[in-house]
């Protein structure tokens, strides 16, 4: 994982991230269309306060954050844009610790250009 993303996650949550198997990140290995990349993040970690999604290769890596309440199950999905092939990082914040999962997505056609 790049140190830039680590830093961005650290700035958002005030804690350095640590990679964890408990964070399940579901993205396609190859995205034919970078304009629409489906992504799902779920975790078995209890009392999740926040989930955020980063795309390393995008000009603005932070794609979305989700603030959860006790009524929410820690499982969210959305669709994001990716400019080029890069790592996608999901960060889960719970009880003062930031857990992350990373996966590379190969993009055939970028979704940020004109």
């Amino acid at each position: 994982m790049s140190t830039e993303i680590d830093k961005a996650i650290g700035e958002l949550y005030g804690h350095p991230p640590q990679a964890s198997d408990l964070v399940k990140l579901k993205v396609p290995d190859i995205a034919e269309n970078g304009a629409v990349v489906p992504i799902s993040v779920s975790t078995d970690i209890e009392n999740v306060e926040s989930i955020s999604i980063y795309v390393e290769g995008n000009p603005n890596p932070l794609a979305a954050t989700f603030e959860l309440s006790p009524y929410i199950v820690a499982a969210v999905s959305t669709r994001i844009k990716m400019g080029k092939t890069s790592n996608v990082v999901a960060a889960v914040y719970s009880g003062g610790t930031v857990y992350t999962a990373t996966q590379e997505v190969k993009v055939t056609i970028g979704g940020c250009g004109g």
């Binding site: 304009a35 629409v36 990349v37 795309v55 995008n58 000009p59 603005n60 932070l62 794609a63 979305a64 954050t65 989700f66 603030e67 959860l68 309440s69 009524y71 929410i72 199950v73 499982a75 969210v76 999905s77 959305t78 669709r79 994001i80 844009k81 990716m82 979704g111 940020c112 250009g113 004109g114």
Partner: protein, 102 residues
């Protein structure tokens, strides 16, 4: 513009799906005719409420796809409950919608 929402009870959890109509301009694209950059225009915040309580809040960046799709699961609501949604974009334009749990 309106937020389309669906909420379905599955076992103990309610699966909520949202579709918001929005162009989600990144601010990086260049207008082919004028050569000027198209200014960023995207949804910044989406909030879901149930029985007057805020249960879900999401901050979106320009990297979320056009016509954003969001899905999440709730514990608590039962069939017949209404879940309402609201969103606001970076020009301050608000949008809202609701879904009844089925």
């Amino acid at each position: 513009m309106a937020i389309k929402g669906k909420a379905k009870l599955r076992g103990e959890k309610v699966q909520v799906k949202l579709l918001i109509k929005h162009v989600m301009e990144t601010g990086l694209r260049v207008d082919a005719e004028t050569g000027n950059k198209i200014p960023a225009y995207h949804i910044t915040e989406v909030v879901g409420s149930w029985e007057g309580k805020e249960v879900f809040r999401s901050n979106l960046g320009p990297a979320v796809s056009k016509n954003p799709y969001l899905s999440f699961q709730l514990k608590g609501p039962s069939v017949g409950d209404t879940i309402s949604f609201s969103s606001v974009d970076n020009k301050g334009i608000k949008d809202s919608g609701a879904a009844v749990v089925k």
